[in-house]
């Protein structure tokens, strides 16, 4: 086989590989790589000692990684957005969740909790990919986490402080201004 022929064959294989990759969602979509990084310096958190403890989470992310309380809060507050792939109002609220994720960065964990059933995981991943979701996504096919947070219908937003106390629940999803107001009461930046 000549050099030109080998190059043509390799090009064909590479093109096939690129197309095949394009069929699948990004490897780190909603997985452990999307959990926040190191806590930013100079950030402290106000406590809500009178709030009840947040229900324990012992679940998996969409990539199969285990996820629990310590991954979500304990050193920072967390926003949990309960969602499903068929929930139109969840899609409408996703830009709010994206803005909160961007603006608060690693100071706050923002995670989705998807209540799609076990046989709907492919549709969920496709939907998350279509939405361009950047947050970690907890899969909850048996609605264990949903039940513990009293979610009757998506969307619903929960705010947990850095001590693991359930500060607020917003059935129907949080209004952006109210969510920011609560977060700004909790997240305190040095010099800010």
């Amino acid at each position: 086989m000549s050099l030109v022929q080998r190059a043509a064959l390799l090009t064909g294989v590479a093109l096939t590989a690129v197309l095949f990759t394009g069929c699948t969602a990004s490897d780190d979509l909603g997985g452990a790589d999307r959990l926040p990084g190191a806590l930013p310096e100079g950030v402290t958190f106000a406590a809500h000692p009178d709030a009840p403890p947040a229900p324990t989470i012992d679940a998996e992310l969409v990539d199969g990684s285990p996820v629990g309380n310590d991954d979500l809060w304990g050193d920072r507050p967390a926003v949990l957005q309960f969602t499903t792939s068929w929930c139109s109002r969840c899609d409408e609220q996703q830009p709010v969740i994206d803005d909160i994720t961007r603006d608060y960065g690693d100071a706050v964990t923002v995670a989705l909790v998807a209540g799609d059933p076990a046989d709907g995981q492919d549709a969920l991943i496709e939907h998350l990919d279509d939405l361009g979701v950047t947050q970690p996504v907890i899969v909850d096919p048996d609605l264990q986490v949903w039940r513990s947070y009293a979610v009757d219908e998506a969307p619903m937003t929960a705010l947990v402080d850095a001590d693991g106390r359930l500060v607020k629940l917003w059935p129907g999803g949080a209004d952006e201004a109210k969510l920011r107001a609560e977060l700004d009461r909790i997240v305190q930046r040095a010099g800010g």
Partner: protein
Amino acid sequence: MTRTPRILSGAATVTFAVALLAGCAAQGGTGSGSGSGSGSGSGSIDVLVRDSNLRVEGEACSGARPNEYIHRGAELVLEHGSDRVSVELPDGEAVRIDDIDYGAAPRIPTACRFRISAPGLEPDLDYTVTIDGHDAGDYRYTPADAAPIAVPPLADPGAILESGDH
């Protein structure tokens, strides 16, 4: 390797790539519901999830616990003998279930109503109904009053007060 097989090999690679691309396009597509019955009826009917969940009236909704399986994209099937009508549910709409004045409360007790077109339904036949594979009782389509398919079923469809427009 002769020249012809090499050409065929290259063509096969390109064909495979195109097939994968086509597969991507198909994967990204969305299905749509349609009636598949052979009857003559073509009116719209409602699926009414009587969950009394607190919602903002008029907002998009899906069934609340324990009816989470009733949502946009779920398949509603009505069967009578060999007749089968299948419809994909659209978004539901929150409709109030009573005439109580809740003042300024934005979220009030509601049912979630899915309005669907069900071509092929024959009047005055008893259909068995399933939604996403869950039994949803029997339904008799009568064009004159077009009672909703209620979940849970109504004891007396003639006495319905909570379907919004009916």
